[in-house]
Amino acid sequence: MKIVVCIKQVPATNDAKIDPETKRIIREGMKAILNPFDTYAVEEGVQLRDKFGGEVIALSMGPPKAEASLREAISVGVDRAILLSDRAFGGSDTWATSYALAKAIKKIGDIDLVICGKQAIDGDTAQVGPGIAAHLDWLQATYVMAVEEISSSSIRVKRMHEDGYDICEMSFPAVITVVKDINTPRVPSLKGRLASNKCEVPVWKPGDIGADTSKIGLNGSPTRVVKTQPPPPRHTSTKKIEGSSIECAQSLLRELRLRSIV
């Protein structure tokens, strides 16, 4: 089985700085981490490889320093890693990102399964996983909380929904996005980390994956961030509710109903 795990390096901090010109996040100088949701994807890839054999490859698109997140994936058991990095990829929205990743997956070749985290904590869009599946015209299953079974040609997964879950089976090749319930990601060991420092991480450019330059980067992105602003201030004063317990309950219920919370 040949698996690609798509990962993203994201800023760790909550106090993000935004470039006033481009309206994009200034990533320089900010601490970067492997997107927490992606650690579950990496772990699942490694566990499936250990169980069924084959190879698991980590793939990321980002600035050169995103290599660190790929190394982290190697340090917990991924076989090799590839970084898509070039100025031409800059400013990609989820459409262009999933296009570039899909092209890279094609280029790697013979992939059975792509695993993504359910979403990245900086954008929270959850669009790249299904986007990759759409670009490749592969089957997809999102919010996967368990891989139930795998055969040489298909995978059976448990998908989480608001009202419960379902179990579905699809033939390879396929894309899944995984939620936290799926496993417990291991923490890199010192040995693994020291070994990962010695690995080569090849960098692929648009030409390497045969990308149509009109479909990558800002040019390939249908969406534009036109403005960013601080959120409106939360509140000015506290409304105090006092009295007997029954009075308090009734006043609070009124407030909840007023706001259609109950």
């Binding site: 009202d163 992105s221 506290t238 509710i241 919370i261």
Partner: protein, 339 residues
């Protein structure tokens, strides 16, 4: 990507909503989005269309007219009984090509967030997730989509002028559901599911419904959270009851409660737990140490219930209820049940 010309852009009209159907029923997020679509359509002097895909849809699609729909497209087919992303995406693509909507809005539910990204790639459209505000340029129909980014620290406004349709998802309970107007009428269009829509599909083996707690903290719109003031695991049972009555609410906890062994760590909100930004956060018996506050202070509405009116949590709350939560919460639970 080649931008649409003005003439091509003008071919696209009307505001679409993709309905959320669970177990044959139309979910309230659909009503909320229909209401939001109505406002946009009025500004554009165009129509609201709702796409309903499912199998054996029990609820009459006509009910959507009351919420502001002018047209309901119904695709009712046994092949749509389970959620098969690929099939629904193909149907959506066909309908979009056929009817050319200007805007497509979908609920940011697990299904919506699986379906719409696929459609947006297939139709070459821009898509913005989890919008909290939508407005439209009445002249050219550009959709201005506002959404929080970076843990709610900034609000970004996004536009995709060069392509049509423009797509957005909106979380349940973000938009207010309009008052239904039973007198409104509209048209129903029945569309077929084609065999080509369901080639190479996946098989749904089994479906399990549970209202237990499918919601985790990050996905919940309402969190009911308990601290040291809950006094023990029994207190959290009370909060779970409260959460179930509210519906779709998750139970959170302060570190003090987790460290006392009263509730699993997965529920911990705060610096060393999870950061949440829900619509509503109800803090019960949580004093509000700074480590907890940083994890929840960007929630839209904060309600605190505590005996002590002077805790930091009671100070930052929008609504502070002073009293014994072991008496107040059961009263509220009773009150909700009797609604």
């Amino acid at each position: 990507m080649i931008a649409f010309t003005d003439a091509k852009r003008k071919e696209y009209r009307n505001i679409w909503v993709v309905a959320e159907i669970l177990a044959g029923g139309i979910q309230s997020v659909t009503h909320e989005l229909t209401g939001a679509a109505r406002t946009l359509a009025d500004l554009r002097k165009s129509e609201v269309w709702v796409v309903v895909m499912g199998s054996g849809i029990e609820e009459k699609p006509e009910s959507l007219f009351a919420y502001g729909a002018d047209v309901v497209i119904v695709v009712d087919h046994p092949g749509l009984s389970g959620f098969i992303d690929e099939t629904e995406a193909k149907i959506m693509k066909r309908l979009i090509i056929k009817y050319k909507p200007e805007v497509v809005i979908c609920g940011a539910t697990t299904r919506g967030r699986a379906l719409i990204p696929r459609v947006s790639v297939m139709t070459h459209c821009g898509l913005t997730a989890d919008c909290t505000g939508l407005s439209i340029d009445p002249e050219n129909g550009d959709l201005l989509q506002t959404r929080p980014a970076f843990g709610g620290n900034i609000m970004a406004t996004i536009r995709c002028s060069n392509h049509r349709p423009q797509m957005a998802t909106v979380r349940p309970r973000v938009m207010k559901s309009p008052e239904p107007d039973p007198g409104r009428t509209g048209r129903i269009i029945k569309e077929e599911m084609l065999t080509s829509d369901s080639e190479k599909i996946k098989q749904i083996i089994d479906v399990f419904h549970s209202t237990e707690t499918a919601y985790n903290l990050a996905d919940a719109q309402i969190i009911i959270s308990g601290g040291r003031g809950m006094k023990g695991p029994e207190g959290f049972k009370l909060l779970k009851q409260f959460a179930q009555r509210v519906g779709g609410a998750a139970v959170g906890a302060s570190r003090a409660a987790v460290d006392s062994g009263w509730i699993p760590y997965a529920h911990q909100v705060g610096q060393t737990g999870q950061t949440v930004q829900t619509k509503v956060y109800i803090a019960c018996g949580i004093s509000g140490q700074i480590q907890h506050l940083v994890g929840m202070q960007s929630c839209d509405l904060i309600i605190a219930i505590d005996k002590n009116p002077d805790t930091p949590m009671m100070q930052i709350a929008d609504i502070a209820v002073v009293g014994d939560l072991f008496e107040i919460i059961p009263e509220i639970v009773k009150g909700i049940t009797n609604l």
